[in-house]
């Protein structure tokens, strides 16, 4: 890594600087299987060019040439795309698109723990890849909504049919979307926010 080329130091464009008054950030996690459209969704609503944070991890080498002795650990890189939306001059929202495998989640401290909530992005051609993610979110108490990314050749199910298949409580929103469109991705996020708001209201009444 070369940090000395300071003239070419990568960084945000001046117009992408957050106001100095920004006091805090909140985050929403978009979770789903490979190729379901997480990165597309992040890109369609983000106000900055989507960025990638990586984590390098080691894992016991598998099928690795063992010429170097018993230590067969290999380094693997896991990447996560994210974007940003300015909310007020004091608050900023970050969106993270994360792989569905829980074993990667711990790599980023508090990825889900502190999140306001999550969007589970599903592809009806491969509904079953999202089952495990929903279990994990329920166990962690992370509120979530289901967003069905409408691929042209994917089977269409009625919402209630999906609800039964996904074994979801009646209050959990299920929304169809086309994550390539900003308006549609924005609708998904607003659906999540309204759901979180309804939880807050019922919590306050309880």
């Amino acid at each position: 890594m070369d940090f000395n080329g300071s003239d070419t130091l990568p960084g945000p464009r001046t117009e992408d600087h957050l106001p100095h008054t920004t006091q805090a950030a909140v985050k929403i996690v978009i979770v789903g299987g490979f190729g379901v459209g997480k990165t597309t969704m992040v890109g369609s609503v983000s106000e900055i060019r989507p960025l990638t944070t990586e984590e390098t991890m080691t894992q016991a080498g598998i099928g690795v040439d063992d010429n170097y002795g018993s230590d067969t650990k290999t380094a693997t890189t896991v990447a996560m795309d994210f974007g940003r939306i300015g909310i007020t001059d004091r608050l900023v929202l970050y969106l993270f698109g994360t792989p569905g495998q829980e074993r990667f989640w711990f790599l980023w401290n508090g990825l889900f723990e502190g999140a306001l909530g999550a969007v589970v992005l599903v592809d009806t051609r491969r509904l079953e890849v999202s089952f495990d993610v929903m279990d994990r979110l329920e166990e962690r108490g992370v509120p979530f909504v289901i967003a069905v990314n409408s691929f042209p050749d994917a089977p269409r199910y009625a919402v209630e049919e999906l609800r039964t298949a996904l074994d979801l409580a009646p209050e959990i929103p299920i929304i169809e979307c086309d994550v390539r469109r900003r308006a549609s991705s924005k609708d998904v996020l607003l659906t999540l926010m309204r759901f979180l708001h309804s939880i807050a209201l019922s919590g306050a009444r309880a």
Partner: protein, 140 residues
């Protein structure tokens, strides 16, 4: 056509292993692949400050880089003239998240940067916060 049905994991005992795509087995014969380890976990034991850094903790420089500062420190201080999240720093500097937190912890300890903690989910969510986010999204 009927969609496949989810079977909840929790109420039932774990299902018997299904003939799923063959998971690579570690050579020591463990049934489950162990969680991978972070490659850059070295500063964790120091003072625990690292653990407080979230992906969206905002970092702001308290001063301009001093001559003689390390190139890494200088790079962070230059980027943080305006608030910037740890995730963004990691992306722009092309450093793994955990390595980034180590670097920022050093800068916090040296009082060269300030960290603004994120607002995290509460058992009873803050309605005015949720409303602010909603309004912000509507303007998008």
């Amino acid at each position: 056509m009927t969609p496949p049905r989810r079977k909840r994991r929790r109420p039932q005992p774990p299902p018997p292993p299904l003939p799923t795509p063959p998971a690579p087995e570690p050579p020591d014969g463990q049934a489950e692949p162990k969680n991978p380890e972070r490659l850059y976990a070295f500063a964790e034991a120091e003072d625990g400050a690292r653990a407080e850094l979230d992906l969206v903790t905002l970092i702001v420089a308290r001063s301009a880089p001093q001559p003689g500062a390390s190139p890494e420190h200088t790079a962070v201080l230059r980027l943080c003239v305006a608030p910037l999240s740890v995730a963004e720093l990691s992306a722009y500097l092309n450093l793994p998240f955990s390595a980034m937190t180590v670097l920022i912890t050093e800068l916090i300890t040296a009082e060269l940067v300030q960290a603004r903690a994120p607002i995290v989910r509460q058992a009873l969510p803050d309605r005015s916060l949720l409303e602010a986010v909603m309004h912000g999204l509507q303007r998008l």
